[in-house]
Subunit: 185 residues, 2 copies
């Protein structure tokens, strides 16, 4: 951040009065520009004991497999965002959403909220964001081609709970980028 | 938003390519300025069956009672944010945090995440943000002086689950400001 989005003047990184950490502050108009983590919302869509996965058609990690997820938008509930992302990435409509897993990814300022849910029908198709969309049984999960660690974690949690038949709300965290991504930088 | 925080040029509200909603976009440098909901994180701190509440010493709703909560910051987990806010507002240290209630407040672009937790010790005190901090039994909750509807909801959920002895992760939503706040506008 270089300039004030309110008045256009240059901002300074400084600790405002009654605050305890540096913020981008505009010396001209006084606006404090807070920067906060973003919520990424998504689904584990299920149809007859199989999981709907999609192959990314966009960067980052184009060509790798993921669960539908994306940034929560203003003017939508968390569940509505998860449903929207699932439709955008897989063309499918989901129902019976249950909050399932919250993952802190502090180093990129993201919080994931993943829902368990059911497909309304086995209707899905490739989209602008997904070159391939398919239902996979546990044995068919492409573990070597998963796009992001948070998706790997989500699948592991889900399969563990699935094996016991008891699902409860879970939390997890990812503290550093995977080596494969670090090497790319 | 009027100006680009990257280059300082005026922004335009327009739908970017491959997007489906208007964003503030900088025609000069091409930056898209996404705006997303913020997470507010807080606690229901318990000591010997009483709830730690605080009287707000800052606007909005100065003088009204609340549970400790505030905006999640970058570089902290959701639970760490809830612990920090509780310390800042009540001077107390909490432990055994369990995610308890997520509330969509779509019209102000906020998602609340409230934790159940225990005080490490009955140590708390007024702070810059709270003119009074105290442990209240169920019968002592100041229902007519609660700062925000989300706090009222949190207390109601908690007391209901407390009465049955069974706590599970819950969700709720608030779709419009309370009449008392609407009249103020």
């Amino acid at each position: 951040m270089n300039y004030c989005s309110q008045c256009g003047g240059p901002v300074a990184l400084t600790v405002p009065p009654d605050d305890d950490r540096p913020r981008y502050v505009c010396p001209a108009c006084g606006t404090v520009h807070y920067q906060n983590p973003k919520l990424v919302v998504g689904c584990i869509p299920i149809w007859e004991e199989r999981i709907l996965m999609c192959r990314r058609n966009i960067e980052p990690r184009k060509g790798f497999w993921t669960l539908p997820a994306g940034f929560l938008e203003n003017d939508e509930t968390v569940a509505a965002g998860a449903r929207r992302e699932t439709f955008e990435e897989t063309g499918s409509r989901v129902t019976d959403l249950a909050p399932y897993l919250m993952v802190d990814i502090v180093y990129i300022h993201q919080i994931y909220m993943m829902y368990r849910c059911r497909l309304q029908a086995p209707d899905f198709h490739p989209t602008r964001e997904s070159s391939e969309v398919k239902l996979v049984a546990e044995a068919e999960i492409p573990w070597d081609e998963i796009a992001f660690p948070v998706i790997e974690k989500t699948l592991h949690h889900y399969l563990l709970d699935w094996s016991t038949g008891r699902f409860s709300f879970r939390t997890d965290r990812i503290d550093a980028p995977p080596k494969s991504l670090q090497q790319k930088r």
